[in-house]
């Protein structure tokens, strides 16, 4: 299993209700069902991939997270997972708000545009970086809103959500991200994995 998926499976509790947004071919949903006995649902934009998920017996609806999350009531899920797709949305802010509305918690993973290879690529080549995890040219990439781990941390303050847990994945090694190591993690992590929550709106202090 991909290390990213293994981390997500570890975070999620037994029998939780989970929505996987952009569930791809359902690999993560399958391992969540198998390992944590979760009630897993998926949304996927590609018809082919929805059909693949159906062939695996997974409950998936064809749809676009930007428009189709609104059909779910508040707190419908214990976890909403958004794996490496935040950067592909026209409006990531609305997506994050929606994730936190329909889910009690959300797990968001982002390919880190702050990784040193990306930085060097742009610095020395002077062209938009192309790496293993970002294989497209600037004109045909679905990734229209790339961000770094640092950007995402900053984003949490701007649109006001709580980062409960943040992990860096670098060459299959997992480590915690905190304020003091943010600079290094933002340079060396390929992927950031964030467990986020909305602030309790009813708090008095």
């Amino acid at each position: 299993m991909k290390t990213e998926y293994k981390i997500i499976v570890d975070i999620i509790e037994e029998k939780a209700r989970v929505l996987d947004v952009g569930c791809d071919d359902g690999t993560l949903m399958q391992s969540l069902k198998k390992n944590k006995n979760v009630d897993a649902r998926g949304i996927e934009i590609s018809k082919d991939k929805v059909q693949t998920c159906v062939s695996k017996g997974l409950t998936v609806i064809e749809g676009n997270a930007e428009f189709d999350l609104k059909q779910f009531p508040n707190d419908s899920f214990d976890y909403v997972v958004l794996g490496q797709t935040l950067q592909a949305f026209v409006n990531p802010e609305i997506v994050i708000r929606e994730l936190l509305r329909v889910g009690k918690k959300a797990i968001v993973t982002i390919p880190n545009f702050g990784h040193w290879k990306v930085r060097l690529n742009l610095l020395f080549k002077g062209t938009m970086p192309i790496t293993e995890s970002l294989p497209n040219d600037w004109y045909n990439t679905p990734n229209i809103h790339m961000c770094t781990i640092k950007d995402f941390v900053k984003f949490s303050k701007i649109i006001n959500f709580k980062i409960f847990k943040s992990l860096a994945l670098s060459n299959k090694n997992i480590s915690n991200i905190n304020n003091s190591n943010l600079f290094y993690k933002n340079l060396f992590a390929e992927l950031g994995i964030f467990l986020i929550e909305k602030y309790n709106e009813n708090r008095n202090n």
């Binding site: 018809k47 159906v54 062939s55 017996g57 749809g63 419908s76």
Partner: protein
């Protein structure tokens, strides 16, 4: 029409209170089955037919001698695999393939009903068909499946009988018949009514048939089952067995000839009054209104697993109307999957050889069946 010997019929003794206020009893419900019911009686699928369908889902229809209307999807090793599942399908009441309808005699007057037959609704149809479960001693169906009006029956059935099916597959349908669809149905009804031979519905007593009107109704409806792109690709402006236009009103174009043919073969197998009754039932269908404007409430009592399917080129029951069903189900946390299948074949896609559709339907049913057994 001496069709009786090929038709299995269940006489329903229990009175059925119709939405129109009338009650019927001791009425026939014609049905057919495929495959065999297993010992646990948990492999049954009730298939609901669309406007002009009947109980002869697959194989050779013994009345028309043509392939059953869903031969692509139902049969051994097909999407609805009759090696695995016991498939039941009934002719809807109001229909003309043996079930109680306007061509039957009114027991009170001993005359053919015609338009004196009570107006039937989708709700009445499913309330008649649920009797088949008692007849076969099936407590819970593995699945209910249907496209178009069949899909409306699927939705009504699970709403009326929330614990009588484990999986629910509405295809290319709607929860509330749109103005556009009512309009097309009205066009068909008016075509029939304006045929002199219709005689206010008493044509069977007069030994005449409103063939012209019924065939025009069918021609108009047939266009709505296809897509512009599909028509253009299949027919374009191709001429029918001629090299040049004839400057007259014969069928110059292939599409004209095709529609005329569709109309002419339809009148041989379908009763004009049944066409009026069944289109009326579709027009009256409004599950949203039945639940005071909140479709979710129609599904609140069921634990069933839903799978909704629509087609890209279906403009009669477009994806958005199918998606409204998905939205209503998600709003109450129901187990629902949804896919829009890419096809140029219009509303008829569900009846045709559309591999992505057939494969997806099979995958859904077979996986759900496996999961249920484990």
């Amino acid at each position: 029409m001496n069709i009786k010997e090929n038709i299995k019929t269940l006489i329903i003794k229990k009175p059925l209170n119709l939405d129109c206020g009338k009650t019927i009893n001791n009425f026939p419900l014609a049905y057919e089955t495929y495959g065999s019911l297993n010992e646990n009686k948990d492999n049954a699928i009730l298939v609901f037919h669309a406007l002009t369908g009947d109980q002869f889902v697959t194989g050779i229809n013994p009345i028309t001698k043509k392939d059953g209307w869903w031969s692509y999807a139902v049969g051994p090793n097909k999407s609805i695999d009759t090696n695995k599942y016991f498939v039941i399908c009934a002719n809807v009441i109001g229909g003309c393939m043996g079930s109680y309808g306007p061509s039957h005699k009114n027991p009170d007057t001993n005359k053919i009903y015609g338009t004196d037959f009570p107006v039937i609704t989708i709700n009445d149809m499913v309330n008649a068909q649920v009797n088949l479960l008692d007849y076969f001693k099936i407590k819970k169906l593995f699945s209910i499946v249907g496209g178009s009006m069949g899909g409306m029956q699927v939705l009504q059935f699970i709403s009326n009988y929330p614990d009588k099916a484990s999986t629910v597959v509405p295809i290319a349908c709607t929860s509330s018949h749109s103005a556009q669809n009512i309009a097309f149905n009205e066009l068909g009804r008016q075509a029939i009514a304006s045929d002199h031979n219709w005689s206010d519905g008493k044509y069977l007593s007069n030994n005449t048939l409103p063939d012209k009107g019924l065939s025009v109704a069918r021609m108009a409806a047939h266009i709505t089952y296809l897509s512009k792109k599909g028509l253009q690709e299949k027919f374009g402006r191709k001429l029918q067995e001629r090299d040049a236009l004839k400057f007259g009103f014969d069928a110059d174009f292939q599409i004209e000839s095709y529609l005329r043919y569709q109309g002419s073969v339809f009148v041989d197998r379908f009763d004009a009054n049944s066409y009026l009754y069944i289109t009326r039932a579709m027009d009256y269908f409004d599950l949203v209104k039945q639940f005071d404007g909140n479709l979710s409430n129609a599904f609140k009592k069921t634990q069933a697993k839903f799978f909704v399917i629509s087609f890209t080129s279906d403009w009669l029951y477009p994806t958005q109307e199918n998606k409204d069903i998905v939205i209503a189900l998600n709003a109450i946390g129901a187990d629902v999957g949804f896919v829009e299948i890419k096809s140029d074949k219009g509303h008829d896609s569900f009846l045709l050889d559309v591999p992505d559709f057939l494969k997806t339907l099979k995958n859904f049913l077979d996986k759900a069946y496996l999961e249920r057994q484990s």
